[in-house]
């Protein structure tokens, strides 16, 4: 009898166990798994935090973040997955054209889902984010506004009785002063200097002709036929001659640049807002601010920015509804604010209201006056043109290319 009771207990436990397994399996089956492909740093950190919150808030969809190294490695992973028919449900993309992970070439190849019917689409009309629209359809959720400009070390300038330059001549004067201080005035990532050349060209090309990229696309102008491009490269040559940059600038990588700024080896640097976050992570005591790269006159100086980072949905995803659910969740102001806190940049709502953080307060007047241009390469359909800004740009910094050869290379890359 005692033996029978024990057997009965064991059977009950087994049955309960089986029932629990079935219930658990049922719950797991009901839950939709969604994969989000993102770069390891920056946006990837932001996505991870938001996904954790999203997963805890509901049980229907589980978002898993697949983080891969940024830059070319990210593009390689994304292309390989898409070509193999194993693309992630949610894909981190960049605005417009011009880079391998750009959204519009992917959209035009039928790889991205139309987001025009999502509620957030009303906040991002073509007038605000033209780089996200193709044939009247929206293909990504803008995540943050990235400014590109002259980042300066507030304390280092103040300690030496210097102020950030408002004109190009003032910048050159700072270069002379920096040399006397045994420092360099301007740091750039010379191994990948496309942002730097674009920042200089905003003043020499786009202030004069804001529609230059559209005209180049239409074949109405060329790099060589636009004096502003040659003028931009000549300004860079002048900076080289005045020893504005650290020695061997053409070989400096982004991490080396971050270290130079963090260590106070350079007074200023040219780069995107994400650069500021990376430097502050290295040296939390540093105070950095950004202002536009100076033009020949202060009133002709303009800011440069773009809603660079975006999240898109794979057109071939079997879990599109679940992916849309995460996208809708992320588009809420609270989530967007948290995302940019971790990933860098300015939340779209703040940017629209002109509410920039203290590090970007010098940019506010330019936004108020509408003196802002989009980062040019996002309108250039051929990624190879940005590639030339990197390769021939490096050669120009090394002194092995002339300005004339540089503009010729840019035109040759524009198919």
């Amino acid at each position: 009898m005692k033996h029978q009771t024990r057997l009965g207990r064991i059977a009950s436990i087994c049955l309960a166990g089986c029932a629990l397994s079935v219930l658990t399996a049922g719950a797991a089956l009901a839950q939709t798994q969604v994969r989000l492909l993102a770069p390891a740093s920056g946006s990837g950190v932001g996505f991870a935090a938001i996904a954790e919150k999203f997963n805890a808030a509901q049980s229907d969809v589980k978002v898993e973040i697949q983080r891969v190294p940024s830059g070319e490695s990210y593009a390689q992973a994304m292309f390989t997955q898409l070509q193999a028919g194993a693309g992630a449900d949610l894909i981190f993309t960049n605005a417009g054209y011009g880079a391998p992970e750009s959204m519009l070439p992917l959209a035009e190849a039928g790889q991205l889902a139309d987001l025009t019917d999502r509620a957030f689409a009303a906040e991002f009309p073509p007038e605000r984010v033209a780089e996200y629209w193709s044939d009247g359809k929206l293909y990504g959720l803008p995540l943050s506004l990235t400014n590109v400009g002259l980042v300066y070390n507030v304390d280092l300038l103040a300690q030496n009785g210097l102020t950030p330059p408002e004109t190009f001549e003032e910048l050159l004067a700072l270069c002379d002063k920096a040399v006397s201080l045994n420092k360099s005035a301007v740091g750039i990532a010379g191994s990948s200097p496309f942002y730097f050349y674009e920042a200089v060209a905003v003043g020499t090309v786009f202030v004069e002709d804001p529609d230059w990229s559209e005209k180049r696309t239409a074949g109405e102008t060329t790099f060589a036929g636009t004096p502003g491009w040659t003028a931009a490269f000549e300004r860079v040559k002048t900076m080289l001659d005045r020893q504005c940059f650290p020695v061997g600038v053409q070989a400096i990588t982004p991490p080396q640049l971050f270290a130079d700024i963090a260590a106070g080896n350079v007074l200023m640097a040219v780069g995107p807002t994400t650069l500021m976050g990376a430097v502050v992570n290295m040296n939390p005591a540093i105070t950095l601010k950004m202002r536009p790269f100076p033009n020949d006159a202060a009133e002709r100086t303009a800011a440069m920015s773009v809603y660079n980072d975006a999240l898109s949905v794979n057109a071939k995803s079997a879990n599109q509804d679940a992916a849309f659910a995460f996208l809708d969740y992320l588009s809420q102001p609270e989530q967007m604010a948290e995302f940019v806190k971790l990933a860098g940049g300015t939340a779209p709502a703040d940017a629209a209201a002109g509410a920039f953080p203290p590090a970007l307060e010098d940019m506010v007047p330019f936004y108020a006056e509408g003196r802002v241009h989009t980062v040019p390469h996002h309108a250039w359909r051929e990624p190879a043109v940005r590639g030339v800004l990197i390769s021939s740009g490096g050669a120009f910094l090394a002194g092995s290319k002339t300005a004339a050869e540089f503009v010729a290379d840019l035109d040759a890359a524009w198919k």
Binding site: L82, S191, P246, Q250, A251, P383, S391, A395, A398, S400
Partner: protein
């Protein structure tokens, strides 16, 4: 009983050579069986190694951008490569880098092998020390050297402290030096591999030969050039072939140290393939570069192997 069902006999110990088979049908079961067993392996090898390569080669004749359907454009990609100064520069850089790497790596490796072959008591520890960089990740090695070769890095600082300021260079940023800086790092990393090949070769040379020559009054130099060096021919064949392939497909070190720059000064075919494919989104054009590199490696390796094998027989 028909020949194909003949029972396999135990291996004969007869000194007479086996009768030559007349075609596949004439192959005895004992000879055919191993071939049959290898077929699955051969099929898998062809499927996973060569079919993919051949399928990839087809894209070299298309304008594929990695996303849209590719269109056949014939030899247009190859014509563009031939007319592109930077592409030809990458080809020349690849050949130059591989040549200097092969010579440098083998000379240093041979020197290390001879130095650490006998006599030294600490030779086993030193062999491990010199071989250690070979097992390290090329990327990790490149990043360490990027720090050393930085314009404001330890190498230039050391040169400055030694009063050799005139020798200070922008090692990775000077278009005339960048490629050779990469080559130096590659030689540093892989000379240990050549050392291992040559050590294996040296250990297979009978000591008596060297001793007999020594007794006959041959100098160390004469013994090396007349006895050791010729008998190292098989080791040299392996070492030179391996380093040639490593040199021709150099990628990690170039990407990590210079990214092919400044400009195109240190661009190689392997980095050009990567950039055209994944930076510029020109998958078809990148595949054309890849096909050229594959054919180049095949040709160079085949010619080199034929020459080195002939040299082995001659010696």
């Amino acid at each position: 009983m028909p020949q194909r069902t003949r029972i396999v006999r135990p291996v004969s110990h007869s000194l007479s050579p086996p009768r030559p088979a007349a075609g596949l049908a004439g192959i005895r079961l004992s000879q055919r069986a191993p071939l049959a067993w290898a077929i699955p392996g051969i099929v898998l090898c062809l499927l996973f190694h060569y079919v993919a390569v051949v399928a990839g080669a087809w894209y070299a004749f298309t304008d594929w951008n990695g996303l849209s359907a590719p269109s056949f454009i014939g030899l247009a990609n190859f014509v563009e490569i031939l007319g592109n100064r930077n592409a030809l520069g990458a080809l020349v850089n690849t050949l130059l880098l591989a040549s200097v790497f092969v010579v440098g790596c083998n000379v240093v490796g041979l020197g290390l092998a001879i130095g650490l072959h006998r006599t030294l008591r600490s030779r086993f520890a030193l062999r491990s020390l010199f071989f250690a960089p070979v097992v390290m990740s090329p990327l990790a090695v490149a990043y360490i050297w990027q720090f050393i070769l930085d314009a404001r890095g330890p190498l230039n600082a050391m040169l400055g402290n030694l009063g050799l300021r005139s020798l200070q260079k922008v090692w990775l940023g000077d278009p005339n030096i960048a490629l050779w800086s990469v080559c130096l790092v590659m030689i540093w990393q892989f000379s240990g591999l050549c050392m291992a090949f040559y050590l294996a070769g040296l250990q297979s040379i009978p000591v008596e030969l060297d001793e007999a020559a020594s007794v006959d009054g041959a100098t160390a130099s004469r013994r090396f050039w007349r006895i050791t060096f010729p008998l190292l021919a098989p080791a040299a064949t392996v070492s030179i072939s391996m380093t040639t392939i490593l040199g021709l497909r150099a990628f990690d070190q170039v990407m990590a140290l210079t990214r092919g720059g400044p400009g195109f000064a240190s661009e190689t075919l392997a980095t050009a393939i990567f950039k055209e494919t994944f930076v510029n989104g020109r998958f078809g054009y990148g595949a054309a570069f890849a096909l050229i590199l594959t054919v180049l490696i095949l040709l160079v390796s085949a010619v080199q192997l034929a020459v080195l094998r002939a040299r082995e027989k001659r010696l």
